[in-house]
């Protein structure tokens, strides 16, 4: 359903014409590709400076895909602002990411060996770094 909010009557015809035209025209995807997710997120939060936002706004005026992503994020932002989330009680013990990921990998690939192996390598490195810090 299109926006039906009140607009000055003198623009009603051109508004209706423009609304119909914009909704029915086909947009081509710009050859330059799409905006990085990180940049869209920063734009929606109003965190881009004017020099950064200029090319982003020009791109979104021509690219339906990126504009649609940004619009969904704006809508989501507004919806969440209106209904704040209840604070979830958190576990008192740190959950091991290796356990979480093992479960996920097992679910997706049927085995968790690779993930646990890869993660343990990092974990060993962490422990080594921690121990180095303590020595200092």
């Amino acid at each position: 359903m299109a926006n039906q909010e009140r607009i000055d009557p003198q623009y009603e015809t051109i508004q209706a014409l423009l609304g119909g035209f914009l909704a029915t025209r086909k947009e081509a995807t710009p050859a330059a590709g799409h905006i990085e997710q990180d940049t869209i997120a920063a734009f929606v939060e109003g965190n881009l400076s004017e020099r950064e936002a200029g090319p982003v706004i020009s791109h979104m005026a021509d690219c339906g895909f990126c504009r649609n992503v940004s619009a969904e994020l704006i809508r989501l932002d507004a919806a969440f602002a209106e209904t704040p989330a209840t604070i979830k009680e958190t576990a008192s013990e740190p959950g091991k990411i290796s356990e979480v990921l093992s479960g996920l990998f097992a679910k997706i690939f049927g085995t968790s060996d690779g993930a646990v192996f890869a993660h343990h390598e990092e974990e060993k490195k962490d422990k080594q770094e921690d121990s180095d810090e303590e020595k200092k």
Binding site: N3, F21, L22, A23, A32, T39, N47, M60, E72, I97
Partner: protein
């Protein structure tokens, strides 16, 4: 990824190198501050520095002139540095950073997924996929590629997570057995799903044969003039109209986008109207005023196009408007226009 057309400052330019070198001490201070807040996160100063320098280089390239020292300082000052440190540490596989991330952001991530997905199964799939992506399963040159590596700290980590979830949902639809187009994908996620009925065809058989040629010509002139009038607007004006008419954002939702006092969209509109708000909230009425200014510009350009480019007399232009109004009343103007 987007590569801007205007790029007087090339990557590797000595000017960029100088700007980055001058920012070195500020980046070092920022790292020390973040490390004090999260001493157990495994992220080296070098990794932190490289990430910020990459963003800074992009910042320099985003316009055709070099940024001033104040702009660079503001850029560094606005970075969500603590979130960035956490993201780099998570990317490194740091257990403590992951735990912190999970505690702080998992409930939010789940909420976003459930809000956007159509079913609980889809939401759960997306949550799992996002976690796997965040950890990273792809290994390049012996290094695991984590999605966290794409976070630059320009916006909040939650804002970034929202886009990651959204894209993950689009990918989920894309990988479904039925092949769907890009448009269909975006229309299947979130509110877009409710606005998919754009192009309903209408039979134009009611036109009287004797008027068909003339009406066809006027309709063609109308659509071409409207298209040119819209194209002549500045990008921020076009974006505002597209958000309202195509994305169907409500005035209050657009107002939220413009609420940040530093928002460039807000700045542009205020400069255009030569009035500055006292700050704080942008109201729906302000957005409506900006929309009305856009309509006024479209109307003016549209009339000029009809008379100059299309060469229509005042009477003929009036016929165009009459026809358009009549067709709008019956809801079939654009079906008729698309048939021209």
């Amino acid at each position: 990824m987007l590569r801007y057309n205007v790029r007087a400052m090339k990557e590797g330019d000595s000017q960029i190198t100088e700007i980055i070198a001058a920012a070195g001490p500020s980046i070092g201070e920022l790292y020390a501050c973040c490390k004090e807040n999260a001493p157990n996160f495994s992220c080296s100063e070098e990794q932190f520095r490289v990430s910020i320098e990459r963003s800074l280089a992009k910042f320099c390239q985003s316009a055709d002139t070099a940024p001033t020292a104040e702009e660079v300082n503001a850029f560094i000052g606005q970075l969500q540095a603590d979130d960035l440190l956490m993201a780099i540490a998570c990317s490194n596989g740091c257990e403590r950073a992951w735990w912190e991330f999970d505690q702080q952001h998992r409930p939010y991530l789940e909420r976003v997924a459930r809000h956007l997905a159509k079913t609980e199964v889809d939401a759960q799939d997306v949550i799992d996929t996002v976690y796997v992506e965040l950890y990273g399963t792809r290994v390049v040159d012996g290094e695991r590629i984590s999605k966290f590596a794409t976070y630059s700290g320009r916006g909040s980590i939650r804002g970034w997570l929202r886009t990651v979830v959204w894209h993950s949902l689009v990918d989920l639809h894309r990988s479904s057995p039925d092949e769907v187009s890009l448009d269909e994908m975006t229309e299947n996620v979130g509110e877009g799903a409710a606005h998919a009925a754009f192009l309903a065809g209408v039979d134009d058989g009611e036109l009287e044969a004797v008027d068909q040629l003339a009406e066809k010509r006027y309709r063609k002139a109308t659509i071409e003039s409207l298209s040119a009038a819209f194209a002549s607007l500045e990008p921020h004006e076009r974006l505002l109209l597209l958000y309202y008419h195509v994305e169907n954002l409500k005035l209050r939702e657009i107002a939220r986008l413009l609420e940040n006092e530093d928002s460039p969209l807000r700045g542009w509109f205020q400069r255009k109207s030569q009035t500055r708000d006292s700050g704080g909230r942008t109201h729906e009425s302000t957005v409506m005023r900006w929309l009305e200014k856009c309509y006024a510009r479209v109307l003016e350009n549209f009339s000029n196009e009809l008379s100059t480019t299309q060469g229509l007399s005042r009477e003929e232009s009036a016929i165009c408007m009459e026809l358009a109004t009549r067709d709008l009343g019956s809801g079939d103007l654009f079906a008729k226009l698309s048939a021209t």
